[in-house]
Amino acid sequence: MAEGDAHPYKYSCRKCPIRNRCIDYSDNAPTIKAQIRNAFVNKTDTIDLWANLQAHCLLIKADEEARKGTTESLLSKRLRRARKAQEEALAGAKKPPDAAPPRAPKKPTFIVPPPTRPDDIRDPHQLTRREVISARSSGRRYWVTVPTSGRHIALPVDGAVVLGRYDPTFGIPPDVDLTFEDSGHESISRRHARISGTGGIHIIEEMGSRAGIIINGQKLSLGTTRRLYEGDTLILGRVTLRYGIMPGWVQRLSQYPNLQHRLMVASTGDVRLLEPGAAQVIGRSDRFVNFTADIDLSALGAIAEKVSRRHAMLSYQPASSQWLIEDMGSGFGTKINGELMMPGQVHTLVPGDHIWLGGCVLVYDVEVH
């Protein structure tokens, strides 16, 4: 393609500030797109290539819109800004080199919150280092109990869990699935609350749910956080939760001879008993490959869709009366209380632990007789 204004097109793709967007936007395969980009860099672009790109040219569209008398569109505005910046840069280049480069006047901008990572634990409560260290060294662990179902939710010392419900149509379940407790009410949102821990101090955060959170009779307003204290009553929609210290017996299970270990499927409330003894594989039985899992989740249907055939292994420790869990190289991974297990990592289950198996959430609990 020759330089200058000889081409029949209104816009020069070579000079276009948003050319890459048109390239992305075209129906070409990724490799072709890369070739087109290279062609522009090497200045080997052809008129056919322009024809291909300008079929989707956003500038032409913006121009047509402008001619229709509508307000200036995003793209024409951006183009104008780009031209202006170019002119300013040219004007600046003519000045003596020791003069400071002219800057575009800074507009009063609104304060943009830094993009927060999902695992980002914010600390608006200004926990002091001393406070965190003393909480950590006390070794206290906290959990949330659901009085209606007797369920426990162990909270991570460091890390965050999202409380919510299972949605069969969109997305994956949260770390702590309250579908069963909420059944019949439809008051828990997909993502309702987040509890994040720092050294054992927990902070709760509202996640834009419609029903909201009420703590000790006080509504938690949107986007705010609150530190949790022992004995706090949390009401999420229609579900009441109580925050408290994990009792001491949880750490000394071996003292109790008549223990019943249970696994509950969080979204349905089904309970499976764990018989102490040989190691058990949690997974999805598949008759086509003649595989039967010890703890079979295939009957759960869509919830267990992402559970691998051999997903995780539970092994019993007779000395401490505890179960260990290990991921078996599953496709979607295993999370314990919101934290993804590394390959080869072994976790000792504590009552109230939520085991996330590629979307299906199981709750481990113990009953002492």
Binding site: Y25, T71, S73, L75, V112, P115, P118, F170, G208
Partner: protein
């Protein structure tokens, strides 16, 4: 599907917010589907009276007029669970982000949408009206036909990675009546409560006072072709999102 000539569209300009509205003839049509997601089952027939629906989403510029007229709170939030960067309005000038005048307004709650509709003397479409506008009496899967096509809507495949100016995919992505962006760009609030099908307008699901979840339709730039179609339903169990907007409707007999 052959689209009508833009000059032949049966449109009106609504006096209150100067928005173009398209006439959708009422009738009996099929809602839902027997093969799609569980919440869209079963397919059933519904009758709807004629109505007018906004040709495109309520844009930032249009929402600004409402904000200026009423002093309604602006969409500006700082929350960790929703990336509001690039969508938050300026607190000082009470204006949408620069260059997004023609983008659909997002970060609006259902109550915000209702307030806008009340100001413009309109209302939100019911779920059945929305479905009729998008799918037509022939119950198409997409506004333009039964096949997913590239460059017809702002779904994840389009690669915008955000909202786009309304009408970016017009006219190829329009319905035959000329309604723009019914699928893709942003989810749209409807006036109906999220209840299982079959849709029955008289079973209390149009109760405006209920605090339960409302249905969202139309999918957004986040969703890919598995969800970006005119059958998908989403329950609005949240207050707002960066991919949720709305458009309004009015009864055909009114003006």
């Amino acid at each position: 599907m052959a689209n009508k000539d833009p000059n032949d569209l049966e449109t009106i300009i609504w006096p209150d917010d100067k928005k173009e509205m398209v006439f959708v003839a009422g009738g009996t049509f099929t809602m839902g589907s027997d093969v799609d997601a569980e919440n869209a089952k079963p397919a059933h027939t519904v009758s709807v009276a004629s109505f007018y629906i906004d040709r495109w989403h309520v844009t930032n510029a249009e929402y600004k007029k409402f904000i200026d007229a009423t002093g309604h709170p602006i969409p500006n939030y700082d929350v960790p669970w929703c990336n509001t960067h690039g969508y938050n309005w300026d607190v000082d000038t009470r204006t949408f982000p620069e260059g997004k005048a023609e983008h659909p307004v997002v970060l609006v709650t259902w109550e915000d949408a209702l307030a806008y509709a009340a100001w413009a003397q309109k209302r939100l479409p019911t779920e059945a009206e929305w479905a009729l506008a998008a799918r037509g009496l022939s119950a198409r899967r997409y506004p333009w036909g039964d096949e997913f096509l590239l460059n017809h809507c702002n779904s994840a495949e389009a690669g915008w990675g955000g909202t786009c100016p309304v009408g970016t995919f017009s006219p190829q992505g329009d319905t035959p009546e000329g309604v723009v962006d019914m699928v893709g760009n942003v989810w749209e609030w409807t006036s109906s409560l999220y209840r299982p099908y079959p849709y029955r307008p008289d079973d209390g699901r149009e109760n405006p006072a209920s605090g339960k979840w409302r249905v969202l339709r139309g999918a957004s730039w986040v969703n890919d072709a598995t969800i970006a179609h005119a059958i998908a339903r989403l329950d609005g169990d949240f207050l707002f999102y960066n991919n949720v907007g709305f458009r309004c409707a009015v009864d055909a007999g009114e003006k």
